[in-house]
Symmetry: C2
Subunit: 231 residues, 2 copies
């Protein structure tokens, strides 16, 4: 968890060049990297923070479509030559990230073909995860989706606990707060987690995977197949 996985899998020389173009920044829960349609001035490579990608719906509500940690990056639309996004980027868990200006990012993409190839693969993975998420939203119950969300957040957080009120979690999942209360209550009865005043502790990771839909495994497998071991 010392660096970002996308960067860490590149050749040493490329890494050095990229690090030189980055600035280490601290992101804190609640920070918003950008709003929908707003110009993206920096891309971010999380090291130990978690960032949600939310889409606004019908003026008021939001819905989380992707969650990014140190396995990914924020600002992928720049790969397509577009410096904005439909999504809001909201920091869910405080931590460090590497920040790079959009201009520098474009330059590095041109200069380092391996970097470009890697990020193209990441864009493919993101598109696939978006598709899986869409299907999951349509067909899977809140209980399943909550378990999946917790697994994905847990993977990215490093620690065994997650800080997030049921109110905010409900907004991520696109349901009422009460819905989260009930679903989380069921998981608590199964001794899979404990939830107290905004602090979620995973007690039984294996049980949580049991309680989740296959979308979790599918999403992870998609990433690993494209970007996993080969580097």
């Amino acid at each position: 968890m010392l660096t970002n996985r996308l960067l860490g899998s590149l050749r040493r020389n490329d890494q050095r060049q990229l690090f030189a173009g980055c600035k280490r920044v601290e992101l804190r829960t609640g920070d918003i990297l950008w709003q929908p349609q707003q110009r993206i001035r920096h891309v971010y490579f999380p090291i130990d923070c978690i960032v949600s990608q939310l889409i606004p719906v019908d003026a008021h509500a939001h819905l989380e479509l992707a969650i990014v940690g140190n396995e990914g990056m924020l600002g992928d639309t720049l790969l397509f030559g577009v410096n904005n996004s439909l999504m809001q980027s909201l920091v869910q868990g405080s931590g460090t990230a590497l920040q790079m200006t959009s201009a520098m990012f474009r330059r590095q993409l041109e200069q380092l073909p391996a970097f470009r190839r890697k990020l193209d693969l990441y864009a493919f993975v993101l598109q696939g995860q978006l598709a899986l998420t869409a299907a999951c939203l349509r067909f899977h119950s809140l209980d399943l989706r909550l378990a999946r969300w917790l697994l994905m957040a847990h993977d990215r957080s490093g620690s065994g606990s997650i800080d997030l009120t049921q109110e905010l979690l409900a907004e991520m999942l696109g349901v009422r707060r009460v819905g989260v209360t009930n679903a989380a209550g069921r998981l608590q009865k199964l001794k899979i987690l404990s939830y107290s005043r905004g602090k979620i502790t995973i007690l039984d990771r294996a049980g949580l995977e049991q309680a989740s839909c296959a979308c979790y495994r599918a999403s992870e497998a998609l990433y690993e197949d494209a970007l996993g071991y080969t580097g």
Copy 2:
């Protein structure tokens, strides 16, 4: 409707080169261009056919996540250097398309930077439309989504009618056939369309837009902003 919009907006010389690398093929309703995980051997630029991108869910069901006509292309994952997809490509409406081998497609992307830029923008649009669709699936009622689907199909079909049984339409939308019967019945009562034995006729296009959620306009606007008039 004589050519594909993505190709048609390029410079004459580029178009000539691309056409030379293409083969005109007839696609017929029910044809499957590729299955999930299967190797993509050709990309397609529809001229007057309609193709759905479906994702399999839980072994049996399918769900449509994108619908592509002459404004788009099929095989966009090759832009990321990946020659497969999570989606199934199913032809919804017969017609002509330009077919290009994957190898030729890669070559043309390298040789024609304007082509590459154009398709990068298209990938951006697709990603955005996927995000909009995900939110729509979560929050909007079947009635709204049905109206949106019909609008998008109508735009891409050219004609005023669409051939599709309620059974298949239900699979696209991820609902029961009976759900489509009811929702379509309500639209018929409003004299917005008529539906008879697999043939849907749009009677009141403006009314249909009224009956749809804002996702339709948002999706169209996204395309037009990125790829519209400027060419």
